[in-house]
Amino acid sequence: MSSQCENPVKKFLRTDRMPSIWCPGCGIGTSVNCFVRALMDSGMDPSGMAIVSGIGCTGRVAGYLNLDSFHTTHGRALPFATGLKLANPELNVVVYSGDGDLTAIGGNHFIHAARRNMDLLCICVNNLTYGMTGGQVTPTTPTPAIASTTPYGAYEPTFNLPHLAASSGASFVARWTVFHVRQLTRTIEEALGRKGFRFIEIISPCPTLFLRRNRLGDSVDEMRFYRDNSEIRNQCDTRETEIAYRGKIVVGKFVDRTRPTWREAHAARHTEALGARFIQWVGPEDDLRAPDEGMA
């Protein structure tokens, strides 16, 4: 009997695009599994969800999920999602991308999306490197990790992403590793039910480029490392969530607060200023649809 059961995650995946481009031992697939299970558990209508990715290994997530999906330009997933959400406020828009995409080339957009409290769930798979292009240093690569563009070791200070998100204004901030699949799934489900800019960082191994180059073993070794070095501290002050090279990883839900979203603030201001003359955009109108030309 059990051999006939289909994996419930499968119908959310574009199986005709499998196998994926991800390496054996990569954590991105695990994060996607958690995301889909959270989506199922949330009871949300998946057809009302759109997923937006940037460029890179995690940028490919959009292409494997059987949802309305957008693989955008490098770093621009958040502003694309901003336009998508404002034009179609009924959609649940999820941005799913990597540390390089979201916090280096997209870093400016990241802080501004958080500042505006744009109504987006932003999932960042942080593997401490640029995987797609061959393992270069990112804003999260800790000193003195070896990357292809820091062959003698990384030396720049890193971003503490939960702190960056929280201090920029995010209404929900959490971090887990891909070892913490149950906690991560629960947190994603919880975040799906919130409004505003919600940020979840997922610490994930890049076995091919980060672990191997730094002689840290394989992904199973890294799971053990996550298990032994993670410290669950919910509501932790995000000033204390910095990640040092092979140091402890503070995980948990750090921020969960209510602030007006961009659209709510926009409506409140214009209603106060204009009263009944203010007309809020509510979504695409039917008259955008072309008349039937009998060519369908």
Binding site: G63, N66, F70, N108, R289, D292, M295
Partner: protein, 389 residues
């Protein structure tokens, strides 16, 4: 007739406004209800007017953190189901090249506006140029194409913004309105017809159910239909080379068929897209080919030439890209010379030379920007081309 406002907040009647404001009203009249921008002279008045007017007509304007964000936000809104506008000037247009290419590759219906100023770099922020004409054609990487229109008055800023949205929706393509500082800041009479007389191009939304629909499968006109979001179509949109489902297929055959179709969908529909205005060309010995603000100076030069007995006429580009190649080639077979004044050191003249292919002389009347030509300079070039001193 003076201006009036409909119960939906739409203006009509006779207004006295500048080209930037006329562009904003054109967008509203075309049914555009989303705009993104970043402040930049001399285009800012467009988004300022939209920030003022959109809340009264149910539109959304957002000022983004930079032009990279503004351009992709506008593209996201277009996919969300709104007619969408993105406004800038040269330095911002340079940043937008990334997403102009993305819009072309993903066949996003969207309108960009570049109110041109002197460049390169920061250049002349408050003074005119027409030096982004090749940038709009070639500025993003790869072999892409867009439609570019050239208004020469506030009235045309209004009319051509509506036309830009028509073309963007009909051909699922970015369309760029190539204004300039003078046209943007020049105040003239603009007549806005009543809302019911303005046709709004509908989106090409498929009638097919999700299982039969492919987002990049072209119809007979080489343009694929779109679909609403959130209705189970589960579309995939990528800037990677893709097949008709939108799935990445990174090989020579896929690249060849996609990139050639993107080119052909504009060139094969050129009859509907490309427009120009011919004036006094029937007996002309010398033609002046111009566009945008320069065409108004050129018209003065043509009149001066006629007054002194030189048979001159005007060929005005309303569409710069695709270039009206056949019309210019035919013109070159009839006149002695085509004189091309423009506020750059010779951009569209290259295209005119290519189209003329040696059938007549093609003379550049260049200008580094910062002001418009003096009509005498253009007249002198016409005289010289005609062999007169």
């Amino acid at each position: 007739m003076s201006a009036s406002v409909s119960d939906k907040g739409l203006l009509s009647g006779r207004l006295f406004i500048d080209g930037d404001h006329a562009c904003a009203e054109g967008a509203i009249a075309a049914g555009c209800r989303f705009a993104a921008g970043y402040p930049i002279t001399p285009s800012t008045e467009i988004v300022e007017r939209l920030a003022l007017r959109f809340p009264l007509v149910g539109g959304t304007f957002i000022q983004m953190e930079d032009e990279l964000a503004a351009s992709i936000t506008a593209i996201g809104a277009a996919w969300g189901g709104t007619k969408s506008l993105c406004v800038t000037s040269g330095p911002g247009f340079s940043l937008m090249m990334e997403n102009l290419g993305y819009a072309a590759m993903t066949e996003t219906p969207i309108v960009f506006v570049d109110v041109q100023r002197g460049g390169p770099s920061t250049g002349l922020p408050t003074l005119p140029a027409q030096a982004d004409m090749m940038q709009v054609r070639w500025g993003s990487h790869g072999d892409f194409r867009v439609i570019a229109l050239c208004p020469s008055s506030p009235q045309e800023c209004f009319d051509m913004t509506i036309e830009a949205f028509r073309l963007a929706e009909r051909y699922r393509t970015p369309v760029v309105l190539m204004m300039d500082e003078v046209v943007g800041h020049m105040t003239e009479r603009v007549v806005i017809p009543p809302p019911e007389e303005i046709s709004q191009e509908p989106r090409r939304i498929t009638r097919r159910p999700p299982e039969d629909f492919r987002l990049f499968e072209p119809r007979d006109d080489l343009v694929p239909d779109m679909c609403p979001l959130g209705k189970g179509y589960n579309i995939h949109v990528t800037g990677l080379t893709h097949d008709e489902r939108g799935y990445p297929v990174l090989n020579v055959a896929s690249q060849d068929s996609l990139i050639r179709r993107l080119k052909d969908k504009l060139l094969c529909n050129a009859g509907d897209i490309v427009r120009w205005e011919a004036r006094d060309l029937e007996d002309a010995e010398i033609a002046v080919l111009s566009y945008g603000i320069t065409s108004r100076i050129a018209q003065r030069a043509v009149e001066m030439a006629r007054a002194e007995g030189l048979c001159a006429g005007s060929f005005r580009l309303l569409t710069a890209w695709p270039f009206p190649e056949e019309a210019v080639r035919a013109l070159a077979g009839k006149v002695k010379a085509i004189v091309v004044p423009e506020l750059n050191l010779g951009q569209m003249v290259i295209e005119a030379e290519r189209a003329a292919a040696g059938r007549c002389a093609v003379v550049s009347v260049d200008h580094a920007g910062g002001a418009v030509h003096s009509p005498e300079v253009i007249l002198d070039a016409m005289r010289a081309a005609a062999g007169r001193r």
